[in-house]
Structure formats: C-alpha cells, structure tokens
Symmetry: C2
Subunit: 373 residues, 2 copies
C-alpha cells in the first residue's frame, strides 16, 4: 500500500514519475528562515502545525530553527512524529474514546505531550487512562473564539472545565487553545484583523477569569499562517500554531499577497508535478493529476509559469486545462501545479521529492500520510 | 506510512478505531449479485472499474461472478491488480511517457493488458516499448463522445489513429473506448438518456467507419453506474465499465433512486465510521472525519439513521454537523456516513473493514491506495 518513490536523487524534473509531490528546497528553506525571524522579533514561541507536512523530518528542521515542538491533530500523527524524534507535541484537538486516551497516555510517558479538551466526559477518559498508566498528560481547554467548531464558550464554561482538568488525576492544566480557523481565509485585511481582535478579547478575558480562579495559563496557543500578522499584533497568544507557511498554497496566496505584512514573506514551495497526458483539441489539454492527486476543497490549483492555461475541471485521475490559445503546452510536457490547499494534497502522497535548481536533491516519506486515528 | 488496521475480526462497530472505512458485506454482496444478473440478462460483458475499490480481492470477487476482468486508470494500479491475481486488465486511460510505456509493456508480458490512446505520439511510445520487450499490448482508441476530456473526435480522426495503432509493431488494435463521465451525474432521467443516445450514435458511426476501413472493433467499452440502464438500452457497448455499483455513494443516490431502472437495485455498501468528538452546544456536533477522511468533491456525506442531523462543513480533520434539536447525538457516539463520492474516499484509507450484522468479519487492504503513477 506504500507506493514506490517516484524519483531518485540526481533526477531532473523530466525524469520524475508523475504525479509527484515536489518541494522546492530553496523556497522552503527561505520560508523556515522567514518565520524564525518573525517569531523571534515578536518574542513569541512557534509550535508549527505538522498536519500540513506530516513529516518528522520537517518538524525537526523547524525545531532546529527555534520552534519549541510540533502540533498535530491526531494521536496517530503524534505517535509517528514522536517515533521520528519529536519530543514535545501538542495534539491541537480532542482525543476522544478510551482506546485513543490510552494511546495518548502511553505516549505521554515517552515525550512531553499535551491535548485539548472541550467536554467533561473527555476529561474523565483522559484522566482514567493517564492515572492507570501513571502518566502525566498536559491539557489545554479549547475555547470557541468565533470558529464555530470545537471548544467551550469563552469565560465561565472554560473556567469550569479547567477546574475539572486541574482536579483530575494524571492531568495537568496547562492553559488555553483559542484557534480561529475560518479567520485564516477571510480575504479582506481589515475584516481578518477585526476577527482576530475579537478572538483575542475573548481569549484575554478567559485568561483573566482563569487567573482569578487560581488557574494560571502557562500556554495560550492558536493562530495560523493566514492571521499571522494579526496574531502578533493582538499579543494574547504565547505560542503560534502556523503550519502552512512552510509550503503556502494557492488559497493563502489569494488573501495574503496584498497585505504587505509578514505573511507576504512566504513563497510557494510545494508543487504537484503533472504530465500533459492528452491534448485532443487546441483549446484543451488534460493532466494526469485530478481529485486523487490534489486537495481541491479550496479551489483549483494554479499552473506555474504557463499564463493562458487554467485548471478548470477535475475528475478522479484527470485535470482538464482550458488553453487560451494553441501551442501553450505539448503532449507529454511536464507542468508544476500550485495546490489550492497544501494539507489535504500532501496527505495523498507517500513521498516528498525535494528539488534544488531542477535536480532531485533528496526524497523522504510523508510519514504520517493517512494517519486519521 | 501504512497505517495500522483499525479493527480486528470479531470487533463490534463500537470497538473499531475511527475514522474507518466500513463495507457492509451483505449489501456489497447483493450489489455484486444484482449487477451479475443485469449484465447476464442484457448479454453484455462486465469489466468493472477498479478505480472505485483499488482492491484485487474485490476484483476477483467480481470476476468470480462473471466479470471478464478489471478496468483501472493507472499503470501502477494495473501492476497491483496483476500482482493480486487479476489476469485481464484494461487501463481505461492513456499511459503516457516512455517510463510508463515500458511498465505497461512489461506487464503485458505477464497478463492480458489493454490501454487507451488518443495521440499519435503516445502510439509511438507504446509501440517502441512493446516492440523492444517483445510484448503485445492491446490498444483501444478513445473517442470523445461528449465528455469533453480525453479522446479524439469520433469518425475520421479515430480511424486515422486506429490505422497507426494497427500498423505499429508490438500493438494490436482492439477497438474503441467511448466513455461519457459527465453523463453519469446528469440528474434528469430523460436528459441522461438523451446524452447516452447521442454518445451511442457517435460511437456506432465510428465503429462502422472502422469496419469500412478493415479495422474491426473486438471491444467497444464504456458506460458507468449512473448510465447503466441507458447503456444497456443503447446497445452499442460490448463491455461495461461500471464500478461504483459495488459501493454506491450519496451522489449516485441523488440521481438514481427515482429511475426505477436497474440502477435502483444497488444499495449503499460503503460507509465511513466516525465519532462525535465534540458537542459544544446543543445545535452543533463535530465528527472526527473531515477533508482527509472523505471525498467531498460531489457534496457532503449523509448520516445513516440520524434524521435531523446534517453534515454542513468539513475542515481537514473535522466534520461539523448541524442538529435540528438537542439530544440527537451524544459525545463519543459513533455514526455511519455515506460518502458523497466513493472513489476518492476509498483512496484515503489503507484498510477495508468488512462488517456483517454489526461485527467485523474480515479486514483487507486498499492495496492500490495512492497508486497515482
């Protein structure tokens, strides 16, 4: 079920078997460096989200440049990151059910691990597992600061749940998660800024209520690549979770380029290499990369360096391009696509192909590909 | 990179680790049987598309019930099907590039293999590879009968390309592929029927033109689950490629149920088992199955047996449900989702969990998961 690696070190792009997931290493390294500079200047801690890349190798490169650890979404991802050498992980999500609670507690005996909660039943499950295994699991209470997904309401509900955590054997109350996912993609700069400000106010008032109850927040985590500038400005978070900055994607490109803020310092570093597998009429070409090769939830990919060609329609294994004029592409030609959304695109591949100046420099696994549990 | 199996034989659904890909074996077996009856009655050959299931085990069960072989979309899928015992495969797609042509020719020495072409350059690549390896590769000319994707125009262009195939060393002209993918999802019965009729006319006139040129079509392949009734009625195809019938999905459900034709005989047999991981307010619950656990290109999944709950929004790892009233679902509860589109959903999982009357009866791999090449 693991696919063979589509490239070997030294290959040119024309020798890579398509479709393939390409990391332009120079852009990727510039992204790492740029983010390290931004958080150092802001005096914040960075805990990049590994749900973007699903790779312990990349997490360790982020930590080598100052990140304090990694985030992920699933206990199965945390297990894979830990087995790859990442020693400080936040599962920025709820780990629900007795079996997964035991997996989290087991991992908490090996590394520093934190999870989020938003329900008393989940606090009990985690506490039972941690106590039985004599583990200490750090716990953050997730509050809903406008995202409308997980999280208890800010204020009193959060304090009540934090009290349960603090009293539960095997658990240690560590602070708050206040993540506003939908704000990442608000196109308008001022509207995005306003959403983050409102989130920050709700977060700050909850931190203060917890303080008044004797429950100090060691960590207040949230933020993302789309709101980075505003997260820094708002000043409530102690740890940033931004993850997409390592690769960027077409969707973030659509709302960030005009900001002039730190987000504009990141470049597209992730591409899907595809082949023109059909070119039946002058105005249409078909790529060998469709629904199973690209995350399309945030819109279609953009073609790199082929003005006049647009990716119009995806089916399972085909991407249909509309060409403004004949001669833009030839049958068999390779093209690089900038995915609409990097995270679900990465999850479709087993291998990263790292390229520098047109040559494959290294290949490495998408180790947590398919880690859904 | 292969994830651990989420279940063991004998587990109840409550013991399966979520999210997990569930096959309701009784419904699946009824689907196999129903299709065998339909094609037998129509006097057609069935070559089910394995891009739906990506499993040699399922392909062999289809063949045990009369299917003549399997279709797939990629040479990497064909390799995996062949290594699992499938001896007669049509890659219902173009296999482009010298490296993949060699892989196809290599496989053609081991099993009966056919591929489609729609470009002279591709004919040359395949011929070179087959001739060099002393293989015989069967080739079908793909014609565009209204799909607007791959395929040469019907008529003279197809005859010209077929002549090249017939003259090319290592290749054997076998017939036509005439697949109308977009017709599968036309909601209106009569509009869908009309699209298939038009396709059939174009196909028939091309078959006649080929006959007149001395190029007999041994095989005319196409069709799908969505157009099954009309494909049978039109009577031009010698082989049906329908694949989704084994599992069905929410999208096919939206246009088939009212037809009263053979398609209405198929049932939903594929589900994603998910857990309510958050239930922060009465009107909202959140499942642990989002973009990375479900193919969402054809709309959201439907919940099985929970009227009043709808899957409204997916993020990477979350599915947000809107609940009409409180008390519909409890924190930690399991639910079965009918995926919007079965093919890309299957491609996200490493394992099938086969369930009969609420117990896991068998587990088997999604062997060609991620086979993009």
């Amino acid at each position: 079920m693991v696919q063979p690696c589509p490239a070997k070190v030294g290959d040119t792009l024309d020798e890579v078997v398509t479709p393939a997931l390409i990391v332009e290493l120079e852009a990727y390294e510039r992204n790492l460096k740029a983010m390290a500079g931004i958080v150092a200047e802001a005096g914040l801690r960075l805990r990049p989200h590994a749900k973007t890349h699903k790779s312990p190798e990349i997490a360790l490169e982020q930590m080598a440049r100052g990140a304090v650890g990694a985030c992920c979404q699933k206990v199965s991802e945390a297990e894979i990151l830990a087995s790859g050498g990442v020693g400080d992980i936040l599962i920025a999500n709820q780990v629900v059910g007795a079996v997964k609670a035991v997996r989290a507690a087991t991992l908490a005996r090996q590394i520093r691990l934190a999870v989020c909660v938003d329900h008393p039943r989940n606090v009990e499950e985690l506490s039972s597992a941690a106590a039985a295994l004599e583990a200490t699991l750090d716990v953050l209470v997730e509050i809903d600061v406008g995202n409308g997904r997980c999280g208890v309401p800010p204020g009193g509900s959060a304090v009540a749940l934090a009290r349960r955590v603090a009293a539960a054997p095997g658990l240690r109350f560590r602070g708050l998660q206040a993540y506003h996912g939908t704000a990442q993609h608000i196109r308008d700069f001022e509207a995005r800024r306003a959403a983050v400000r409102r989130s920050a106010e709700l977060t700050l008032s909850t931190v203060e209520a917890l303080d008044a109850a004797g429950l100090a927040c060691e960590t207040v985590t949230g933020g993302g690549t789309g709101t980075l500038l505003h997260d820094v400005e708002a000043g409530v978070l102690s740890e940033l979770q931004a993850g997409s900055y390592v690769f960027m994607d077409a969707d973030y490109g659509r709302n960030l380029a005009k900001d002039g803020g730190p987000e504009a310092r990141f470049e597209n570093a992730l591409f899907v290499l595809a082949t023109v597998m059909s070119h039946p009429v002058p105005e249409r070409a078909v790529l060998d990369a469709g629904l199973k090769a690209l995350g399309l939830d945030s819109g279609p990919p953009k073609l790199k360096g082929v003005p006049g060609a647009s990716y119009e329609r995806a089916s399972d294994e085909h991407g249909t391009l509309v060409l403004e004029r004949d001669g833009l592409l030839a049958h068999g030609q390779r093209v690089l696509l900038i995915p609409g959304h990097c995270d679900p695109t990465v999850n479709l591949y087993d291998w990263y192909v790292g390229v520098r100046r047109g040559r494959v420099e290294k290949v490495w696994p998408v180790a947590a590909r398919g880690a859904l549990a």
